[in-house]
């Protein structure tokens, strides 16, 4: 619904007048809001690069100068977080792949293949998106700690594996939890895509003699490549950024298996208060993976957000 600007410029006088009044106002607003959205990020990054003295002396928006500049905060924060980065990625990547695959399968079964009563199942999936996770936290903790202590069951196996340590097994319950609770949103994202595909594609394949699983493998999967991009980006961001499940299932921010989001609220804190240079460095470092993804795939991220909701 954007108004085209192609008609401007024909009548120079009115163009200039319009430009002066409305246009300038619009651009001023746009720039003000850019400032509004970027200021907290900008102050954060600037603070990360300042010495403690410069943090106290200069205004937060100003870049560090001369002696006030330091890499020290970032270095320190990186040391604090490096293990957590591995943990986060080790947990988030398989969890993303799992929930995306299951979501695509469920959406296929609920959208492209028609059968009676599928609306009921769809609604059950939809409710799963909106569920406040608080409603399952106590059961989750009981399940993974008391009823099915998968982490301690896996620990001996993990010890023998290369790359990972025994404590990494604590991330497996978190991974599975993310897969399970990620399925509804991934299903709905894929469903919105599959609904836009013509039903005749599946029908043609059926008449061509393909089975339901062959149709999925040979027709639906290849066609939904772009949507896999969208859902993967969206879901990875969600899981990497998530805090509550990690907080519930991993014992503490000082444990070796803690993920990035779990450690961050504790970095740079001491009895004398918070070292904001270090804290901002850690926050910036923690945000880097999602920032990279966001900058590279902003359109896909926005699409995922639009269809799936916050």
């Amino acid at each position: 619904m954007s108004q085209s600007t192609s008609d401007s410029g024909i009548d120079v006088a009115s163009f200039v007048e319009e430009f002066n009044l409305a246009r300038i106002g619009q651009y001023v607003l746009v720039i003000l809001f850019i400032g509004f959205f970027l200021a907290p990020l900008e102050t954060g990054i600037m603070t990360a690069l300042k010495t403690n003295e410069a943090v106290a002396r200069t205004i937060p928006l100003a870049p560090p100068t001369g002696e006030g500049f330091t890499w020290g905060n970032l270095q320190f924060a990186l040391e604090q977080l490096s293990g957590a980065f591995f943990n986060s990625l080790f947990m988030a990547i398989p969890a993303t792949i799992g929930s995306v695959l299951f979501g695509s399968m469920a959406a296929y079964g609920l959208t492209m293949v028609r059968w009676r009563g599928q609306m009921l199942f769809l609604i059950l999936f939809l409710i799963g998106i909106f569920l406040p996770y608080q409603a399952v936290l106590v059961p989750l903790a009981r399940f993974w700690n008391n009823i099915f202590p998968l982490a301690s069951m896996l620990a001996p196996t993990f010890e023998t594996l290369p790359v990972v340590q025994d404590f990494h097994s604590n991330l497996v319950p978190l991974m599975i939890t993310h897969i399970a609770y990620g399925i509804p949103i991934c299903t709905i994202l894929f469903r919105s895509y599959y609904q836009s595909l013509p039903s005749s594609l599946v029908e043609a394949a059926k008449i061509d003699g393909a089975s339901i699983s062959k149709i999925y493998r040979r027709i639906v999967l290849p066609i939904s490549k772009p949507m896999f991009g969208v859902v993967f980006i969206y879901q990875f961001t969600q899981i990497y950024n998530e805090f509550l499940f990690a907080f519930t299932l991993i014992t503490g921010s000082d444990t070796p298996e803690a993920v990035v989001t779990l450690i961050l609220p504790a970095v740079g804190a001491s009895t004398s208060g918070i070292d904001f240079g270090i804290r901002m460095s850690a926050a910036f470092l923690a945000a880097i993976p999602t920032l990279i993804i966001y900058v590279a795939f902003a359109e896909q991220f926005a699409k995922g957000l639009r269809t799936g909701g916050g």
Partner: protein, 318 residues
């Protein structure tokens, strides 16, 4: 595939179809053949979501706390926790804060998001870049943004107080003062979420046909009038879905509040149901009590979602 043929050929036209044929047809039907595809994810999700919800309600009926495991024997199950929770001041205070957060946060996000969407839709140059910047906070973890706002809110060196003092006012204790802490936090959450509402509204705006705007222009309507009378009423769908997402978020918001302090207790005057629930469970080990708060929370969330889903179902847009 064609091994079925011989058996089926024996069915003569006038005869009743035998049950084996019907069974084989049923086993070949889309419902059965597609069941692994939706069934397996459904079982995993169902166990986690609905199993978890049921488990939670079961725990809320016991008196479980501390290290004693919940006792599910019938004599032990009662609604005692529900009356206890309802009678507690902390719960009532948290509910009140939660409702303030829900209403203010949702309203301002919707209005600001709509304003930004209309602004960007005016044929601004580099509109996609601007949109990317506005949406940027949404790609960050609440843990990250909470740290940045903690710094923004800082008493001595925070940007907000530097601005406030530059105008000659006294520095404000943004998150220390119980009377404004909730407002500060709502402000930060609006900062994070208004990009999302903007994206939803922008998609709605761009799905409207161009000629409506042109027709209104030909009719001599001013831009403001066109938006108020013609365009915005058509964005009802976008408003409803964005509002549902925002309200549900307001109910379950926990991370931002926790990450501001790194402690179970959020800043003064900002305790909401989600933070209260987590604190009761994981700090004090009052499992049954916390499960009860969670159940109330779940009911509130369902109160928002159920009408929405029903509305969508009636519209045929599910």
């Amino acid at each position: 595939m064609d091994t079925h043929e011989t058996a089926e050929a024996t069915t003569t036209p006038t005869e009743e179809v035998d049950w084996e044929t019907k069974l084989r047809y049923f086993l070949n039907s889309d419902f059965v053949r597609s069941s692994p595809f939706w069934g397996i994810p459904f079982l995993i999700m169902g166990a986690a979501v609905y199993g978890g919800m049921g488990f939670n309600v079961a725990i809320s009926l016991t008196d479980a706390r501390g290290l004693t495991p919940p006792d599910y024997s019938l004599g032990n199950l009662d609604l005692e926790m529900y009356t206890q929770v309802l009678g507690s001041n902390a719960f009532l205070q948290a509910t009140q804060n939660n409702l303030v957060l829900l209403v203010t946060f949702t309203t301002v996000c919707l209005v600001l998001g709509l304003f930004l969407a209309v602004l960007i839709d005016q044929g601004i140059r580099y509109d996609d870049k601007v949109q990317t910047i506005y949406l940027l906070p949404m790609s960050l973890s609440f843990v990250v943004t909470a740290q940045m706002w903690l710094w923004m809110f800082n008493n001595n060196n925070g940007l907000l107080n530097i601005i406030v003092t530059a105008f000659g006012f006294e520095p404000v204790n943004w998150i220390g003062d119980p009377s404004i802490a909730l407002g500060s936090i709502i402000f930060a959450l609006i900062w994070q979420f208004s990009g999302y509402t903007m994206v939803v509204y922008l998609a709605g705006l761009r799905s409207l046909p161009d000629d409506q705007f042109e027709a209104a222009r030909v009719d001599g309507a001013s831009t403001v009038k066109t938006y108020l009378r013609i365009i915005i009423p058509q964005l009802k769908e976008s408003s409803v879905s964005a509002a549902v997402v925002l309200m549900v978020f307001a109910l379950k918001a926990f991370t931002f509040l926790y990450a501001l302090t790194g402690r179970y207790r959020p800043p003064n005057g900002t305790d909401i149901l989600a933070t209260l629930m987590v604190r009761e469970a994981f700090k004090f080990g009052k499992w049954a009590y916390a499960a009860t708060i969670a159940t109330y929370l779940m009911v509130l969330a369902l109160g928002v979602i159920a009408p929405y889903l029903y509305y969508q179902y009636r519209q045929g847009s599910l």
